[in-house]
Amino acid sequence: MYRILNKEMLTPTICKMDVLAPRIASSAQPGQFLIVLSGERGERIPLTISDYDPSVGSVTIVTQRIGASTAEIISRSEDESFRSVVGPLGTASDFVNVPLEELRKRRYIFIAGGVGTAPVYPQAKWLHDRGVSVEVIIGAKTADLLIYKKELASACDCLHICTDDGSEGFHGMVTALLEKLVGEGRNYTHAVAIGPMIMMKFTTLTCKKLGLPVTVSLNTLMVDGTGMCGACRVSVGGKTRFACVDGPEFDGYEVDFDECLRRQGQYKTEEKEALERISEGRI
């Protein structure tokens, strides 16, 4: 179980894996996530599902090396297995329950940043397959760090690329590109932003300015992912919600991003200590 069927390094720190998890593959929906526990002594790491194939029984995860546990995940080779993969978790994207007739009146713009580009794919594909208007912006620091270009190009009507250093596509951040596109007369009705918390914060501000409703997918801290621990608490519209069961997607306008950013860094000191223990051979 949970055997790694394929592994591909997309950038030096971002890894794509297809993992055998038949129960999850047959029940996953766009917007949901899963939790990976690489080995007995690792952490339970929440990852948004980047694709799923019920016929093979596989789910695709894209992981960026950030701390010790994500490093352990991407260090696994093809044919090795994870200790646990559990999901699908969270609620599916809202559009899954909207009548198709209504959806076809909408024009979606997805704004993807960094490793958050991968989970945009199942959502864009789901809508694109059903004839809904979808455009996608991918942003990265530099051309080498852009991921999922080919996949997303086939899952939308128009793919826009930007890099902070101008090495590919538009020279600038995703927010500037979004403003430019709208300024050119592209008329979107719904935005979805997935990426680093700080990018979602500023994308939401830009959307607000443009009067464009925006959905964000929050990658908070979590332990169990089923509503048990409350580590993923977020303030949404002044109310405390659990990202694991009430989310992970929320109305960007309502999210207290500054609180999210603070809470995300809660265990920074302890995580640094764990890395030290590893380098000293104590783990």
Partner: protein, 458 residues
């Protein structure tokens, strides 16, 4: 009356030493102590202890075996009614159940039934005969006390039982909630769960029923003829006061899960946990004691902040006693009104108000009333909320026809039958947060009801 042998105390780790480690507090009896304690049982004709045990263990029966040194025989007596004796001997509130009803307790100290049960379980391996397989498939959701008890009985009667567990390890609250120093995981819990699987029960971890698969899919596609829902009460409560989302405020569930299930206390595990120099635990139940004593062992000065007084603490006496011995500080008649943060969004202090006890409320306890103008601050680095838990609504939300009460508990009758034929439930998922042994009792009742239901259907 002849002079009686006094109750044999169980040896414990020195409080100063154990406050710095996660080894079990109580060492339990050795053979000599067990023989002596067992000899105190009067072997009553009408044993009140049995009636007070939620799973109805033949207590005088097993103690009589211990008294003659037949530990294996004692284990078989217990195994007839309980699949988790090593767990129950440690975590049951015996003082309000079996021992609370012991006739000896009227004039003297009651027989130490819990410690004897633990002695038997730790020093034997009961083998139970199972009936021939009857080919009927039953799904049990949740591998906590209710699920394990239900699955054990059904397996003994020949059913093909699969337990589905959401986490990556079986045991439910026994695994994620109760700390190592009260219930060792590898030596006690794991062994006891292995006994359950030896009966033929299969355990599939990493399955969240309601997400990974639904009850209807289990019944329609996977051929399960009946389902038992023993999903517990896992959702943490918060106070709803300002500042609860500051960094450094945790639910007891998060804190304990990181330490118990995810082994944060062990250097060779990656799990981070944050206690800091000073921790305030809000609440007065067993979970509050567990969180407080865990934080203490991680090196913090720990305060329990509770709005009533010591005599209203819902925690077991033994737990409170152990906490006091270890140096936990109790701030009674104190209720948080706000959590205050520093400029980086971390907890700095709790603003509290002094309370006094007023009229008794519906629980019979005198309800605390704030003293006007008595607000003050307690400086602290970490706040742990241990205010109780409620059932997870996921299964009710994803299963047509399964009704819930207003408090989010599943509606089920005395035998565990829910509002949908073929689906049974018991334990905290039905009662709201209660004890391990009550959950086991409910699991056993439901097992009987499932057996009746499937026999009637056949």
């Amino acid at each position: 009356m002849a002079e009686r042998i006094p109750r044999v105390p169980a040896r414990e780790q020195d409080p100063k030493v154990r406050a710095r480690n996660f080894d079990e507090v109580c060492y339990g009896y050795n053979m000599e102590e067990a023989l002596k304690e067992a000899s105190r049982c009067l072997n009553c004709k009408n044993p009140r202890c049995v009636g007070a045990c939620p799973v109805g263990i033949d207590i005088p029966g097993f103690i009589a075996k211990v008294a003659v040194g037949d530990v294996q025989g004692a284990a078989e007596v217990i195994a007839h009614d309980s699949s988790l004796p090593a767990v129950c001997g440690r975590v049951c509130p015996q003082e309000t159940q079996c021992e609370g009803s012991c006739v000896l307790g009227v004039k003297f100290e009651p027989v130490s039934i819990g410690k004897l049960e633990r002695f038997v379980a730790d020093n034997s391996s009961a083998s139970v005969e199972t009936e021939k397989s009857n080919g009927h498939k039953v799904a049990v959701i949740g591998s906590g006390p209710a699920g394990l008890a239900c699955a054990s009985d059904l397996a003994k009667w020949g059913y093909d039982v699969t337990i589905f567990e959401a986490l990556h390890k079986a045991g439910g609250v026994l695994e994620y909630g109760i700390p190592e120093f009260r219930l060792p995981k590898e030596t006690v819990l794991k062994r006891e769960i292995e006994e359950v699987t030896r009966l033929g029960v299969k355990i599939e971890t990493d399955v969240i029923v309601g997400r990974t698969v639904t009850i209807d899919e289990l019944m329609d596609r996977e051929g399960f003829e009946a389902v038992f829902v023993g999903t517990g009460a896992g959702l943490p409560k918060f106070m709803g006061i300002p500042g609860e989302n500051l960094c450094g405020v945790f639910s007891a569930n998060e804190f304990l899960t990181r330490n118990n299930l995810m082994k944060a206390f062990r250097e060779d595990y990656l799990t981070p946990i944050h206690a800091g120099k000073k921790v305030c635990v809000v609440g007065g139940g067993n979970v509050a004691m567990d969180a407080a004593r865990t934080a203490l062992r991680l090196g913090a000065e720990v305060h329990i902040v509770y709005r009533r007084t010591e005599s209203e603490l819902p925690a077991r006496r033994e737990e409170v006693h152990h906490a006091v011995e270890e140096g936990i500080i109790f701030d009674m008649l104190t209720n948080p009104v706000e959590i205050l943060g520093d400029d980086k969004g971390w907890v700095r202090a709790i603003r509290c108000i002094k309370m006094e006890l007023g009229e008794p409320d519906e629980s019979g306890r005198r309800s605390p009333v704030p003293v006007p103008g008595s607000e003050f601050e307690i400086e602290t680095e970490t706040v742990i909320m241990a205010l109780g838990t409620s059932p997870n609504p996921l299964i009710a939300k994803t299963t047509e026809g399964l009704e819930q009460t207003r408090r989010g508990c599943l509606v089920a009758d005395e035998q565990g039958a829910t509002t949908r034929p073929g689906i049974f439930a018991g334990g905290d998922a039905v009662s709201g947060a209660a004890t391990v042994i009550l959950a086991m009792g409910a699991g056993r009742k439901a097992a009987k009801a499932i057996d009746d239901y499937l026999k009637a259907k056949a």
